[in-house]
Amino acid sequence: MGPLIPNGIIPEDWNYIIAILIGFAFGYILEASGFSSSRKLAGQFYGYDFAVLKVFFTSAVVAVIGLYYMDYLNFLDISMLFVQPTYLWAAIIGGMIMGVGFLAGGFCPGTSLCAVAIGKIDGIVFTIGLVIGIFIFSESFSALEPLFESSNLGNITLVDTLGVSPYWIIFIFTIIALIAFVFSDWVRSKVKKVFY
């Protein structure tokens, strides 16, 4: 049956409308989880708040378990889902830049827009910086292009790389998530409480 749009159950034209609706829901969840506060986000790195880790890890685990149950029950063909291609070195370097920006600015791109939506000044400043960064990247793209397009490993997943059944990977991933939750709670109990 699924995916609904590629199989023509929902017309292709609805794609953007559904994307906007999902975007609203995503923004609402971000705001409801308190992600429009840069202190909460930075708390992840200082060890006094692990909401980011918990929310994103939980959503990933719930999504992957749900998708594979739907695949098992034939509601969805998992092989038809799009897998983002892996550009190894671009991802590593980009991830490091993103991490530094996240820590220094206190937002990631999505949450900064969330903060703009509720009128936070630091969020607005961060978003202006984001746009400047996009501008610099676009202007220097010809210099960065070799890195941007090199080491393309294709649409690979852990299932292809490790050759293990996806169900085992999900199970291990879930256990890692649960351990991470317990561990983050333990770290938080050791770190001095910050009120913000």
Partner: protein
């Protein structure tokens, strides 16, 4: 009171309960009995394809395409090799039904360049071949409706329409007749009688003209 207290105690442990649910669901995926998923296209699409009458091509249409030398037609004979050698449509490829999934023949059926037209004596073999191939998601497959029997009844040996039938029937009849001639039947060899007339040698009469007397043309 005690009910409220119970709920409170439960809520204190809500994270543990949620974590346990997550764990059980993830373990469920590992422990669920695995089954082999159907290969090929989805069952509902498959049924839709089977019901569709578009999978048939009529003998008249096929004859028309063959006469016009349509390069996209690929005929596949699903009968046995012996039957194929006895009679086959022009330029057909013989892939007996039992060898359909043979790797050597995969290139003929699993492609998207030609319109593959399957035929057998009747619909049966061709239909079976069509169903197997379509299930595997192969494209552009058709079945010759009625197979070779229909081919004989319409193209090779068409039935003369009744006098009262409409003009279209006669047009179709003449088309079939002409197509049949294209495929090498129904050509009446009319004996051409050549009469060679023997020419009688005629006597040549050579007349010798008498020199006319010159009229004096005058002197110097």
């Amino acid at each position: 009171m005690s009910k409220k207290y119970k709920l409170k105690r439960l809520l204190v442990r809500r994270y543990q309960i949620l974590a346990a649910i997550l764990f059980i669901l993830a373990a469920g995926l590992v422990l669920l009995p695995k089954y082999k998923k159907n290969e090929g296209i989805a069952p509902d699409l498959f049924v839709k394809n089977i019901i569709s009458s578009e999978r048939y091509i009529s003998t008249d249409l096929l004859a028309d395409r063959l006469v016009n030398q349509d390069p996209t037609v690929l005929l596949i004979d699903t009968r046995s090799e012996k039957e194929f050698n006895d009679y086959a449509l022009p330029n057909a490829v013989n892939i007996p039904l039992k060898d359909l999934l043979n790797e050597n023949f995969d290139g003929y059926i699993n492609q998207d360049v030609y319109d593959v037209i399957l035929y057998s004596n009747e619909n049966f073999y061709a239909d079976q071949a069509w169903i197997i191939s379509n299930r595997l998601g192969y494209q552009n497959l058709y079945v010759l409706k009625g197979g070779l029997n229909e081919w004989f009844n319409t193209i090779i040996n068409p039935k003369m329409p009744e006098e009262t039938e409409p003009k279209e029937a006669f047009d179709l009849y003449s088309f079939r007749k002409a197509a049949g001639m294209y495929f090498g039947v129904g050509i009446v060899k009319s004996e051409v009688k050549k009469e060679i007339k023997k020419k009688k040698p005629t006597r040549k009469v050579i007349t010798v003209k008498k020199k006319k007397k010159r009229v004096p043309e005058g002197g110097c």
